[in-house]
């Protein structure tokens, strides 16, 4: 369940630099259009809702093979 993009809720890029994947501690890639934080190693996309990164594996979207290869 992805929230529509809302410019008013853009997350501070400096804050995003602090965040890592809670499962692998690996880097996250910010997808600003989808408002997701992508952990390729965990194959998960963590949603950002109303400007709040949701760093829970249960709430994350499983990445498709096609997305990992892109």
């Amino acid at each position: 369940m992805t929230q529509p993009y809302r410019p008013g809720y853009e997350v501070d890029p400096k804050f995003l630099e602090l965040l890592v994947c809670p499962l692998t501690k690996g880097p996250l890639v910010y997808d600003s259009a989808r408002q997701e934080l992508i952990s390729r190693a965990a194959r998960l996309a963590f949603p950002i809702r109303d400007g709040i990164p949701i760093m829970l594996a249960d709430e994350a979207r499983r990445l498709e093979d096609a997305e990992l290869n892109s």
């Binding site: 602090l18 809670p22 709040i52 990164p53 829970l56």
Partner: protein, 263 residues
């Protein structure tokens, strides 16, 4: 839907239970006088004074009172909690108070989504007794703390005496089924040291909890509140004295502030 039905419905993980318990009560924790003030928060403010460039993690921020205490002193505050409702309440209150240096993220204490050595301070108040794994939470706190940084843990503690300990945990569980454990001071120190901390300071305090607001804040079902009163009525003199039981169910318990540095 009655609060009794929602609070006694059984299902899901302890994290689900915590989120379900605290979600509807978020506003009550922002305004709770027990949570919003206290000598421990004043001491925290004094500890943070003069650290204007520091970044601080409020671990298990709940109603955000550590964040609001810290925000005037430090550069950046990250308010982190399992409950999205709590985080929304904290964001709203931060905006109302004009704090622009508080950001929020949602997750569990046992898997912090932050880089190693990301924070000058990690502060956690009245949260650890809800964690499924205190040792893991402490290891993560240690990991995200900078060398030379400080961690401050504040929580309700259980007495070292097993009789008093069991009474407290039972009452806590009846009040809030998402309760895990109030740890004894000796358990706190041992686990902190095992996680790679040195104990720099220990402060014991007592906290008086007015019964009606204490159960109302978390919407304790009446049947559970009645069970707590029944346990209190039948308590031994030792229990009565330690917890300073009062006629209306109000009682006083122990709290601890642990100031830790990386070992």
């Amino acid at each position: 839907m009655s609060s009794a039905a929602s609070s006694t419905a059984a299902s899901g993980s302890i994290e689900d239970l915590v989120a379900r318990q605290f979600g509807p009560q978020a506003a009550a924790y922002v305004t709770s006088a027990v949570h919003a003030s206290g000598a421990d928060l004043e001491a925290l403010g004094a500890l943070l004074a003069g650290h204007g460039t520091a970044r601080l993690l409020d671990l298990g921020c709940g109603g955000g009172h550590v964040s609001f205490t810290a925000a005037p002193h430090v550069s950046e505050v990250v308010a982190y909690d399992l409950s999205d409702a709590m985080l929304a309440a904290v964001s709203g209150e931060a905006a109302r108070r004009g704090f622009t240096n508080i950001t929020t993220a949602q997750g569990v204490a046992e898997a912090l989504p932050f880089e190693d050595a990301a924070f000058d301070f990690v502060v956690s108040r009245y949260s650890a007794h809800h964690w499924r794994d205190l040792a893991a939470g402490l290891r993560h706190a240690r990991r995200v703390l900078k060398p030379g940084g400080r961690a401050v843990f504040m929580d309700v503690t259980a007495p070292e005496n097993p009789l008093l300990d069991t009474f407290l945990q039972t009452v806590e569980m009846l009040r809030d089924p998402s309760h895990v454990r109030d740890y004894r001071p000796s358990e706190w120190v041992r686990r902190a040291e095992e996680a790679g901390f040195l104990v720099e300071g220990v402060t014991d305090r007592r906290l008086r909890l007015e019964f009606e607001s204490w159960v109302k804040r978390i919407a304790t079902p009446p049947v559970h509140a009645a069970a707590i009163r029944s346990l209190q009525d039948g308590a031994s003199d030792e229990v009565r004295e330690h917890f300073a039981l009062e006629a209306d169910g109000t009682f006083t318990l122990d709290t601890l502030t642990l100031v830790l540095v990386p070992a």
